[in-house]
């Protein structure tokens, strides 16, 4: 089975630290990468070194320069929701932004402070099909 990898896109150092701490406490092996802003995330996911793609993106909407919304829109231009699931992290976001995110395609929405149980549920839901898929070793591929 391929190791479940998470890309955390978060600009605030404290938030990043706290979220990383929570993720590490989850009871399964995870690989965590971080991007401090939209540019880094785009370089990682949409750039030359995109492969292997992360299994899940945890995205904070309040990012400097390139906002979470436009980053999500760039991601969805290339990858479908099943290819690259995205979960939005937010303290209290504008209902309009959340509606936009839902329309573009997100797998979920977690409000800060993150509850470890909720994150665990999401990840378990995402790993289930991988675990029982006959082609599980291949893992998700980017669309051509």
């Amino acid at each position: 089975m391929k190791e479940f990898s998470i890309l955390l896109v978060e600009d605030n150092d404290d938030d990043r630290f706290l979220t990383m701490r929570l993720i590490r406490k989850l009871p399964f092996p995870l690989k965590v990468e971080t991007s401090k802003n939209g540019e880094e995330a785009i370089k990682r996911i949409l750039g030359e070194n995109a492969d292997p793609l992360p299994s899940l993106v945890l995205l904070d909407l309040q990012l400097p320069k390139i906002s979470g919304i436009s980053l999500l829109s760039s991601i969805r231009e290339k990858y479908s929701q099943s290819d690259l699931p995205v979960i939005v992290l937010s303290s209290s976001d504008n209902p309009r932004d959340l509606k936009l995110c839902n329309e573009m395609g997100i797998s979920g929405y977690l409000s800060k402070p993150l509850a470890p149980s909720e994150l665990q549920e999401y990840i378990e839901a995402l790993t289930q099909p991988l675990r029982f898929s006959p082609d599980s070793s291949a893992g998700p591929h980017p669309s051509p």
Partner: protein
């Protein structure tokens, strides 16, 4: 007959329509009447005079002839008879002269050739006999000898040709008619001119009035006569002037009013724009403040958790207490920020009002309160079938806050009762929620609906201080009103008015019943 009636109707209509026609017709009729009367009188007098003259002349002629021929008849001298007759014949207009004896036998006759189409008058007289002693007496015109036929020796008969007299009479009639016609013609002309001269100023006044009506205030009646019409024109002109002055005043006042209105409208618009922008700024500040303040709070909570988990074993009880206090304070602030956000969202929400069974909603909120704090004994007394027209989510939120307050402030009573119902007052249905809780001092009523204003100690009755502000905003967004009545240690009643809903249509909210 019909055409005559129609003609008469036409004339009547014309007469009734035009003063000028009426005046003209009246004068014409008068002239016609007077002149024809005069003509008739003239003719009658002429005819009478002529007829009298003829009769006198004819009678005299016959009498004279009778006297002249008396001796000749008596003696039977035919030549003398003819001579006397020819004397009479020589008189003008005598057509024929006949002399008869006592037995009526024609003794002599002289006659001009008879003419056709000529009127003749016959004069007869007895020839007086010699025995008549008073022979000279009957020469008085008018006395006939024929009264005593015994004394007459014969009779004379003089036929007079009336053609010349008739011609004269005809001429007189013609003259009279001509004179009448001329008089009439002149009269009509004069009447026409008079009617025109009288009706023209009136028509002019009428035209002026029409022009005035159509808005031309520069018109003036130009009648220079010094009679009543001139006076009328003068009055008319001064009336126009008065109207003009008044209209000007009115227009000036209107213009002033309009200018004031424009200024006012401008002010209102500016003020509205200022208010709107201030409102927008406030709302965006509210939103970003609550959002940006919330992010550090979650971090604070996160670090509190981390501290407790990783260092909980090395801290003593006091240390743990401090951490808990920090976390609780953060939570409190988080709730306040949530309430602020709610306040913002109420203002932003697009309302979709529909019929709601308020009684069922109250029941559902009560159930959720019981579920949250199953240890408390609170009896709810809910009036059934109270219908309002409103937005489900907002009304739910308002009820949560109001019933939450009632629930909260009755916590120190063992016989806690919360009542919901409707009272009718001045045709309005006023909903109320009444509790027998702690109540508050009405002196501070003004502070009630202001956000963050609290009338109780936060440790005694915890809360954000925004709840009633939220409720008030919801009620006022529905166009309703809310007020409270309270008395300390007795309880509080919250009254509110919402748009009325139709009864027995509460199926949509049935799901919220207990």
């Amino acid at each position: 007959m019909q055409s005559i009636t129609r003609l008469f109707a036409g004339i009547t209509e014309k007469l009734s329509k035009s003063f000028r026609v009426r005046l003209f017709a009246g004068i014409t009729l008068l002239i016609l009447f007077v002149s024809s009367g005069f003509a008739f009188l003239l003719f009658y007098q002429q005819y009478q005079a002529q007829s009298d003259k003829r009769n006198t002349e004819g009678g005299l002629m016959a009498k004279l002839l009778a006297r002249d021929v008396r001796l000749a008849v008596f003696s039977g001298n035919r030549d003398a008879i003819l001579q006397a007759a020819s004397g009479t014949m020589s008189l003008p207009d005598v057509q024929s002269v006949e002399i008869y004896d006592r037995a009526g036998i024609l003794l002599g006759r002289l006659a001009n050739p008879a003419k056709n189409d000529v009127r003749y008058t016959v004069f007869k007289d007895q020839i007086p006999g010699l025995l008549n002693r008073q022979l000279e007496e009957p020469l008085i015109v008018g006395k006939q000898w024929g009264e005593d036929p015994e004394n007459s020796v014969g009779s004379v008969r003089v036929v007079v040709d009336e053609s010349r007299a008739d011609a004269r009479l005809r001429k007189t009639i013609l003259m009279a008619l001509l004179a009448t016609t001329l008089f009439l013609a002149f009269g009509i002309m004069a009447a026409f001119r008079l009617a025109k001269s009288m009706s023209r100023p009136i028509a002019q006044l009428s035209a002026c009035a029409t022009a005035l009506k159509n808005g031309d205030e520069s018109v003036r009646a130009t009648i220079e006569t010094s009679d009543e019409l001139g006076d009328l024109a003068h009055s008319f002109n001064s009336m126009i002037e008065a109207i003009r002055v008044r209209t000007n005043d009115l227009e000036e006042a209107l213009e002033e009013l309009y200018q004031l209105n424009v200024v006012l409208e401008d002010k209102v618009q500016k003020r509205t724009a200022q208010l709107e922008s201030a409102n927008r700024e406030l709302e965006s500040f509210n939103y970003s403040a609550s959002h940006d303040l919330r992010a550090p709070l979650t971090r604070l909570a996160g670090f509190c958790d981390a501290l407790k988990e990783e260092y909980g074993t090395t801290l003593d009880a006091q240390g743990i207490h401090y951490i808990n206090r920090i976390a609780a304070t953060g939570d409190q602030m988080d709730r306040v920020l949530s309430a602020l956000l709610t306040l913002y969202q109420i203002q932003q929400r697009e309302m979709t009002p529909r019929n709601l069974d308020l009684s069922e909603l109250v029941g559902a909120v009560a159930a959720s309160l019981r579920q949250r704090e199953p240890g408390r004994e609170v009896s709810f007394n809910i009036q059934e079938n109270v219908m309002v027209f409103g937005d489900m989510k907002l009304i739910w939120l308002a009820l949560e806050n109001l019933l939450g307050n009632a629930w909260k402030f009755t916590k120190e009573r063992s016989d806690a009762t919360i009542e919901f119902g409707v009272v009718k007052q001045a045709g309005e249905a006023i909903c109320f929620i009444r509790d027998n809780g702690a109540g508050f001092d009405m002196t501070y009523y003004e502070k009630l609906f202001q956000p963050f204003q609290r009338l109780h100690n936060i440790d005694e009755f915890p809360g954000t201080g925004v709840g009633l502000a939220i409720v008030q905003r919801i009620i006022s967004r529905h166009g309703g009103r809310i007020w409270l009545e309270s008395s300390e240690r007795v309880g509080t009643t919250c009254y509110f008015i919402l748009p009325k809903g139709k009864e027995d249509q509460g199926a949509g909210t049935r799901g919220y019943a207990q």
